[in-house]
């Protein structure tokens, strides 16, 4: 009986030599993959596209090695994460070539668009917070960052995240605890101390 999972069906077609299944997989998964790469690396869109493209090429190369028992999403994100880590390492070897986050240059996402009637002060605060969030993410260790992004944006369970990272559910739980604590401190640290001066609860962003 064929598996009802559409991704499994596409992988079966791909393994059987039907190349058009690859185009369908790309159409289904490119947005989450691109966004994950850009958030994970904090890289410009061109670099994220490069890595995402390579990830789908790997899906094609490994089409006969995919186990239908595995979830396609965890398999795909394990490939993506692996490519991101390799890219990061090779970027560290030649740091001059990757101008990440210098005065807003090389930011992965366009800044929040200001409407014509937007309050300039509110806009400034929003983009300040945006910068804080991105810097906070980038400062997390890779496993923590991957765990928090897979949880927040892919809605993966601890078990699924553990499959992607090749670790255990318990390890994922503690990665997430540490990641969120660090993010809260980096993003809300100042506001929190300000709020405490005023006697507030200190948890409002």
């Amino acid at each position: 009986m064929p598996s009802p999972d559409p991704d499994h069906q596409l992988m079966a077609r791909l393994a059987g030599g039907d190349d058009s299944a690859l185009a369908e997989l790309v159409a289904r998964w490119q947005r989450p993959v691109l966004a994950h790469v850009a958030r994970f690396l904090g890289c410009p869109p061109e670099e994220a596209q490069d890595i995402a493209q390579e990830a789908f090429l790997r899906v094609w190369r490994e089409r006969r090695r995919f186990e239908p028992r595995a979830a396609f999403s965890t398999w795909l994100f394990a490939i993506v994460l692996n490519l991101c880590r390799n890219r990061r390492r090779s970027a560290q070897r030649r740091p001059v070539l990757v101008p990440i986050g210098v005065d807003g240059a090389g930011e992965p996402f366009p800044a929040i668009e200001a409407g014509a009637d937007a309050d300039p002060l509110a806009c400034a605060r929003a983009s300040e917070l945006e910068g804080k969030v991105r810097r906070a993410l980038r400062s997390l260790p890779e496993s923590q960052r991957a765990a928090v992004l897979l949880r927040r944006f892919e809605g993966m369970s601890y078990r699924e995240i553990a499959t992607v990272l090749g670790s255990s559910e318990g390890a994922v739980e503690s990665l997430l605890v540490r990641a969120r604590r660090a993010l809260a401190a980096a993003i809300f640290g100042d506001d929190r101390s300000r709020a405490q001066e005023k006697g507030g609860s200190g948890v409002e962003p």
Partner: protein, 155 residues
């Protein structure tokens, strides 16, 4: 799902709040935690912080619309052709190696026998055709040599 015993003191509950927030605690401990949160402002504030972090992460961005499909399919077809060419070259190498063996054998036997040399030359010609219009002389030169050798052998 992580099944834990949940007591009622904050020190034991605080490390479980993340799993509770993510819906990863079993039903029973989660119910215990619900009850605790209703009466503990400290733990409730911790949960509010988890929500605030999730909210702020939305600012990590959305990508503009792009379609990777055409680029991926082009790269895939290019790689498929490269792999096919490699296989063909490997097959040709095997053919040539065995052909040379046959030639050597026939040369050793002398002109009395006519071995499969013409068959070999025809095969190599089809291989070089497959590689046309590649300008490199590798295979064509080799097959030319072999053909010459073959003619020499028949003489």
């Amino acid at each position: 799902m992580l099944n834990r015993d949940v007591g009622n003191d904050c020190d034991r509950i605080a490390p479980l709040l993340g799993a509770w927030y993510d819906g990863e605690l079993g039903a029973e401990p989660a119910a215990g935690l619900d009850a605790h949160l209703a009466s503990c402002p400290g733990c409730a504030a911790h949960v509010a912080e988890l929500e605030a972090v999730d909210g702020a992460l939305a600012l990590a961005g959305e990508l503009p619309e792009v379609d990777l499909g055409p680029a991926v399919m082009t790269a895939m077809r290019r790689e498929r052709r490269r792999v096919a060419a490699w296989r063909l070259a490997a097959a040709a190498a095997v053919l040539m190696a065995s052909g040379l063996g046959l030639l050597a054998g026939s040369l050793a036997l002398g002109p009395g026998r006519e071995p499969q040399t013409p068959v070999l030359v025809a095969t190599l010609d089809s291989v070089t055709e497959a590689f046309a219009p590649a300008p490199t002389g590798g295979l064509s030169a080799l097959s030319g040599d072999l053909a010459a050798a073959g003619r020499g052998g028949r003489r």
